[in-house]
Subunit: 458 residues, 2 copies
C-alpha cells in the first residue's frame, strides 16, 4: 500500500492556515486597489525562451522545467544524450514554471503594449517556483505579491509605494516596521567621490552585508575586492549617518558635492520625503539607509526594503525603480517602480505577534444539533434563514449523540450551537448555546436569527 | 530581438478579466463558506507516485511532468535512453503538476487523517494542468473549484450540495439552469431488470450520449456493445421519463421493482428531494435524469450535473457520491460526496448573458487631475482622505495636459475626476466631474469626500 508524501519544499494549507492567508492576501489586495493598482495574472507555465537568461546562471538552474508532452525523446541522437544536462534540457523541455512575477509582467507588457493605458499600475499575487535547497522559511513553492507602475518616471510613484507599504502593514496590524530607502544614484555618487567611479556594484556587494558582518569585515572585503586604502578611508561617512532624515540629506549633500549623479540621487529622495509629508503621513516609518543596495540588480533609482522590528526575520518587502524592464523583449526604455511583499514572511511575523483576528473568518458560526429526523426537519429551514442573513451555518449530518455533535462544534471552533431535542420540538423554543461562555437561552427560530445577525461578525 | 509568446493553451488575465474572475470566485467562496465548507490548498507540484495511475492510461499521458533538478541524466544508461518515453520519464522526472483537485484532496485527507474532524467539509479553488490538445474553451491551465464532504454517508450532504449549487449560481446572477440528478444504484438496477446485470458501465457509456446522438444511435451502440434485442426493448422506459419528479419516481419504482439495489437508489433520491423541500427551496431547478452517468467513474450513489439553459455550452458543474476516495492511499471505505464547478465555463456563461456587474469592482473610482506641482500638492491630502474612506483613488503622476489626464480616466473607466487648476487653487473649491453624465460641480475637498462616500460603490 502506497504511503503518500509531499515533494520537498512544498506545503499543504489546511483550513486554519488558509483562513489566515486569505485574510492576509485580501487585506493587501484591498489596499493595493485603493491606490489604483489593478490585478493581472499570468500563466504558471511560461516558455523557457522567455525565462532563460533572465535570472543569471544560477537562476537558470533553479528553474523548474517541464518535460515536453508525448514521445519527447524520439528525435534525440546519441550525442544529445551525452551532452551536459543543460543542453539536453532544452531539447526535451520547452516550458518552465514561473520563477518570479517580474519577467512574466515584462512579457505581458510587451505583448499587450498597444492595449495598455500608460502609466500602467498593476498588482499580481501568485505562486512562484524555485528548485532551491529547502530550509526553514524557504520553500520551493511560495507566493509573491508585486505592485508596479510602469510608463512614468514621476517620483510621485515612489511616494505612493511608500504610503501603500505603510497602509498595507498597518491594515494587517503590523505597527513596528521600518521602510529603508536608498537610491542607486547615491551609491554611484559615493563610488565617484571615493575615487572608485563605476565600482558601485562591488561596493554594494560588500556594504550590503554591514548589518550582518559589521564594519570591520566589510572593510576587509572591500580591500579584497580591490578598493584602495584611500578609497576606504573616504568611505568613513557611510558608516555613520544621522538617523534624522534632514541631517542625513545635509551630510550627503556636502559629501557628494563633487558628484552630479550623486546629488541627483539625494534630490530625488528629498522630493520623495517631501511628497509623503504632503500626503499628510506624519508618522512615516522611513529611514534613509545609504548602505541599502539589495544586490543593485536592475535598480536605477530608489531602492526600498522593509523590516519588521522586534521579529527575527529577514526583510518582508523590497523593490525599487528600474529603467529597462522590457528591454530583453525588444521594448527598451520603459521606466517603472515596484515593490514585492513577502507573503510567507509577513504571515510568520503576524503569527509571532499574534496579529490574526480571533474570529474564524472562514468558518461556520452556527451548528444546528438535532437528535432525530424530526428535530432535523425543524432545523433545516433555520439553516436556510441563517444563511440568507450571511451567517455561515451547518447541521451535523448524521444522527449522533449530543456530545459528539458538540465535540464537532468545538473542533471546528463554531461559536454558537442550536439544540433541537424532544422538549424543543414540543415548545417550539430552541436552545441557543454560546460555546465560548457556555450561556444558554430558549428562543424561537426567528429570535435566534435576529440575535445572531447582530452578534456574529461577518 | 526576442519576440515573447505564451505556451499553447495558456492565457494572461488582464485587469478587466481579473476583476470579473475575482468577483466570480469570491461569490462562490462566500457561498461555500455559508454552508460550512472550509478552504484548503495543496501544492502545484505533487510526486508522480501520487498522481500516476489515478487518471487511467490517458490521464498519465496528459500529466505535465517536471524534469528533476541538477544533472538529471547522469545515472542513465544507454538502454534507458532507448526505452519508450513512458519508462524513461520516470527515470528523469519524479514530480508533476496537479491534474485535478480530487487526488490531492485524497492525499491530504490520508496525510492528515488524525488531525481532521470528521465529517470534513472542504472547498478548494486552484488551477490544474492537462497536456490536452488546446481548443476553443479548453485550456491546458484552468481553474477548478471543488467542494466535498467526506466521512459521512448522510443524504443531507447531497441535499446541501444541491442547495449550494442553487445559491452559488443565483448569487452570480445565473437564474436559468437545471441541476440534473441520477443515482448509480438506479443504473445498476436498470441493468439488472433488463437482463444485463453488472453491465451498467457499458450501458452508461452509450446512454450518456443520448443528448448528443439521439435514441436511434444509442440503440445501435448498445447492440454493438453486446446488449440483446430483448434487453434493449426492456430499456424503453428509460427513453420516456416524465418531467415531474414524483411521477418519475413512481414509474421507476414499478420498473425497478425486481431490483433491490435499484429501489434503494430511488429511495435515496426521493429522500434528497424531500430534504430539499424541508429546507424551503420551493423553486428547485432539479431534474431526475436516469440517463445521466458522467462516465460513472468512481460514483457509487448520487450523480450531479448542472446545465446553464439558453447558452450553448457543456455542463458547468458535475459531481456525485463515492465510497472509496482514499483507497489508493491505504485508507479504504471513506465515503463522501462532492461537486466541481467549471469556473471558465461559468465565466463564459456570465459573459454571454452579460451578468457581470458594471461597476469596475477592482478599479479606481476617482482620478485627481492637476496642472502643476502646486495643484498636485493640494490634491495629495485629498487622495489620502478618499482612501481612508475606502474609495480607490489616484493622481495622474506626471504633469500633463488636462485632455491626456481625462483620456487616462476614460481608458481606466474611472467614473469621477477632481480637477485642480489655477482657479481652484485661488478659490479652494475643486471641480468634481462625473465622467459618465458629464455633470460638473464646485465643492470643497471635504464635500467631495462626503459626496463620493455615499455614491461610490465599494
Amino acid at each position: 500500500m502506497q504511503k503518500p508524501s509531499l515533494p520537498r519544499g512544498t506545503r499543504d494549507f489546511g483550513p486554519e492556515q488558509m483562513s489566515k492567508r486569505l485574510f492576509l492576501l485580501e487585506t493587501i489586495r484591498q489596499t493595493f486597489r485603493r491606490y489604483g493598482f489593478q490585478p493581472i495574472e499570468t500563466p504558471t507555465l511560461e516558455n523557457l525562451s522567455v525565462l532563460m537568461g533572465k535570472y543569471g546562471e544560477e537562476g537558470d538552474q533553479l528553474l523548474f522545467k517541464v518535460l515536453n508532452s508525448g514521445d519527447f525523446a524520439k528525435d534525440l541522437t546519441e550525442t544529445d544524450w551525452q551532452e551536459n544536462a543543460r543542453k539536453l534540457t532544452l531539447k526535451i523541455s520547452e516550458k518552465g514554471l514561473r520563477y518570479d512575477l517580474t519577467v512574466p509582467f515584462a512579457r505581458y507588457v510587451v505583448m499587450n503594449r498597444h492595449a495598455l493605458t500608460m502609466p500602467f499600475k498593476r498588482y499580481q499575487i501568485q505562486p512562484v517556483w524555485r528548485a532551491d535547497r529547502p530550509q526553514k522559511g524557504r520553500y520551493r513553492e511560495f507566493v509573491q505579491c508585486d505592485a508596479d507602475v510602469v510608463g512614468t518616471d514621476s517620483l510621485l510613484c515612489e511616494a505612493e509605494i511608500v504610503l501603500m507599504l505603510h497602509e498595507s502593514l498597518r491594515n494587517l496590524g503590523i505597527q513596528d516596521f521600518t521602510v529603508k530607502i536608498n537610491n542607486r544614484k547615491i551609491l554611484t555618487g559615493i563610488a565617484e567621490v571615493v575615487g572608485a567611479a563605476g565600482q558601485e556594484g562591488l561596493l554594494a556587494i560588500a556594504i550590503d552585508k554591514l548589518d550582518k558582518i559589521g564594519k570591520e569585515k566589510v572593510v576587509e572585503e572591500l580591500k579584497q575586492r580591490g578598493f584602495s586604502d584611500e578609497s576606504i578611508d573616504k568611505l568613513e561617512p557611510m558608516f555613520q549617518f544621522p538617523d534624522q532624515a534632514q541631517a542625513a540629506f545635509d551630510q550627503l549633500k556636502s559629501w557628494l558635492a563633487p558628484s552630479e549623479v550623486g546629488l541627483k540621487g539625494v534630490a530625488e529622495l528629498e522630493e520623495v520625503w517631501q511628497l509623503i509629508a504632503q500626503y499628510g503621513l506624519n508618522d512615516a516609518r522611513m529611514q534613509l539607509d545609504v548602505t541599502l543596495a539589495r544586490g543593485l540588480s536592475y535598480y536605477t533609482g530608489a531602492i526600498f526594503e522593509v523590516k519588521a522590528n522586534g521579529v527575527q526575520i529577514g526583510s518582508i518587502s523590497g523593490g525599487g525603480r528600474y529603467d529597462n524592464l522590457t528591454g530583453a523583449f525588444g521594448m527598451p526604455g520603459l521606466s517603472g517602480v515596484g515593490i514585492s511583499l513577502g507573503v510567507d514572511r509577513i504571515y510568520d511575523v503576524m503569527e509571532e505577534l499574534n496579529l490574526f483576528p480571533d474570529t474564524g473568518l472562514q468558518s461556520t458560526q452556527v451548528l444546528v444539533v438535532h437528535l432525530d429526523t424530526e428535530g432535523r426537519s425543524l432545523g433545516l429551514p433555520l439553516l436556510s434563514q441563517l444563511r440568507a442573513q450571511n451567517i455561515p451555518a451547518e447541521a451535523y449530518p448524521d444522527s449522533a449523540k449530543v456530545k459528539k455533535q458538540l465535540d464537532y462544534a468545538n473542533a471546528k471552533s463554531i461559536p454558537y450551537v442550536v439544540l433541537i431535542g424532544s422538549e424543543e420540538l414540543q415548545t417550539g423554543l430552541l436552545g441557543l448555546k454560546n460555546m465560548v461562555t457556555g450561556q444558554q437561552e430558549k428562543l424561537t427560530a426567528d429570535e435566534i436569527v435576529a440575535r445572531l445577525k447582530d452578534e456574529v461578525s461577518k
